[in-house]
Symmetry: C2
Subunit: 134 residues, 2 copies
């Protein structure tokens, strides 16, 4: 039985309706692919707290808990683990995102997300964001 890995992720949406994606750096699994910012929930950590921590570590963003809107989730069987990834929409934050852990950042309209190579688990989320970015 594969391990269950819980990863929290964010679709930051700006005033123009663009969504922030980030490119995974060389040396990590799936290097070069674009992803929603976020990361693993640590033992004993609340999922929303984990997401706020990751956005600070990865992007230097300050996000308030009340500005996290549960949106959708991915549940995907990779060869060696099962990924469960809830995605929150965030429309308000402090500071500007900086790529502290990624190769690059991009602000992309939902209809253009499919031009970026993303991990297989993200497909269902991209599809949903394209159909109704809420």
């Amino acid at each position: 039985m594969a391990n269950l890995v819980l990863v929290v992720a964010a679709a930051l949406i700006d005033a123009q309706g663009r969504i922030l994606i980030a490119q995974r750096p060389v040396g990590k699994r799936m290097a070069g692919l674009w992803e929603f910012p976020g990361g693993k929930v640590e033992p004993g950590e609340r999922p929303d707290a984990a997401l706020i921590r990751e956005l600070k570590e990865e992007l230097d963003l300050d996000v308030a808990r009340d500005d996290l809107e549960p949106y959708a989730f991915a549940s995907h069987a990779y060869a060696d683990f099962h990924l469960l990834m809830p995605l929150w929409v965030i429309r308000r934050w402090k500071r500007e995102p900086v790529a502290l852990e990624h190769e690059a950042l991009a602000w992309v309209l939902p209809g253009k997300l499919k031009d970026y190579a993303m991990p297989p688990a993200d497909e269902v989320l991209v599809k949903r964001l394209m159909e109704r970015p809420q």
Copy 2:
């Protein structure tokens, strides 16, 4: 730090657009409240497999993995634990639901869900289903 509890749940939607909810039995936490069928993921279990197992145990339903559509999730801090609850929409199943573990079952149009008392964590899911049952 409160424990993280992962519960998988289903919105079974019938041909008339009605959603199945089930009433929690006497003797359990939140007895009498109505909820989406589902339950806890066991250690080492895939979330989708857990949901299929729970629907069989609770309702005697047979559901295929391909008929699970990831829909939305709840992330809610109760006093003594943090609940993370992904909700799948299911439109196809075999057999008819039977209340094997619940007090009662009800098929309810999305706009009528608010007439049923449900756990606090479910509010965000009910709101979403009312706005766009997909």
